[in-house]
Symmetry: C2
Subunit: 186 residues, 2 copies
């Protein structure tokens, strides 16, 4: 009835023997149905397949790599690319209405399970996740702490400032918004 | 039909006005049904309630704070306390059979949604999460990177070594193991 997930007697855990799982750079689960990462390389594609993704959202002001587009197409994953420039002190800031539009897609459960990624999984995605936490009502302390888990010492004050000042309305269809964004327990 | 999650015209997002959400230190979602953190303080209890936790597992070789025990009792949360000492170079190491026993509880979906926490959410929990990633077959690069997201510059080689050498069988009832640990997509 019970089976060991890892064989004993000196052998490494079973899955590692079969296939090495390589998640994309800075991969993490944000909340039920939503994952974040940097740009997936071909080695991380088997892992992404295991997530059963319905949607991949790419936020970067450049083109998507052809190998990744091919992966998305051949696995019938819904794909959206938003060309978002990063915050840059002192004058350039992510476009607030565009960020609100992306958040509305990310927070629509009809798109879940969903991966949102940029290139390194630090700045653009960090700002979007920060805005989601703000919608959840998180304290800025916790929001900045999470941002810094991924940025390490490369914190950008401009990103934190963007998260703090972001107030654009995010249109969420109440029928399809995630339960964890409202007061219902999961 | 559509309602704004955040009101426009200069007002901050709605939830922040009502109640400031304070997740516990180093809070994160590991995978569907499993959360990690440091020791929750009273301010983070409303947030934990929103997660609808069925189980809280505390791993630390000291007693649990009375206010937290009271919170767990009054909300009918299943509670397990495992007295685990941290890894300490050069001679002390977390107890392998005990860690395997904790992992079996964490990976039993009958206990989900579940929070596993230690005191700072870095070392003991970091090792347990590292072992879960190993059971998932993750590359050590990704496992150590995730550990370091929470440890920052306070990386302990003894923890990483523990994760790498851990091979004790983990008894998972196949009927109640999480789908993401097997090959089924979520």
């Amino acid at each position: 009835m019970f089976s060991p997930a890892a064989p004993g007697r000196g052998a490494p855990p079973a899955p590692a023997e079969h296939q090495l799982i390589v998640p994309p750079l800075n991969f993490a689960m944000i909340a039920p149905g939503i994952y974040r990462s940097g740009f997936p390389n071909p080695r991380s594609h088997p892992f992404l397949l295991k997530l059963g993704l319905r949607t991949i959202i790419y936020v970067f002001d450049g083109d998507c790599q052809p190998y990744h587009q091919e992966f998305i197409r051949s696995n019938s994953i819904n794909y959206q690319h938003f060309r978002v420039a990063a915050n840059k002190e002192p004058f350039e800031e992510m476009d607030h209405p565009l960020v609100a539009q992306i958040l509305a897609e990310v927070l629509d459960t009809r798109n879940h399970p969903l991966l949102i990624h940029c290139n390194r999984g630090i700045r653009r995605v960090g700002c979007l996740v920060g805005c989601i936490r703000k919608l959840q009502g998180w304290a800025m302390t916790a929001i900045f702490d999470e941002y810094q888990h991924f940025s390490g010492t490369k914190i950008r004050i401009s990103d934190q400032e963007f998260i703090e000042v972001f107030k654009h309305p995010v249109l969420i269809n109440p029928k399809f918004g995630p339960a964890w964004l409202t007061d219902q327990p999961e």
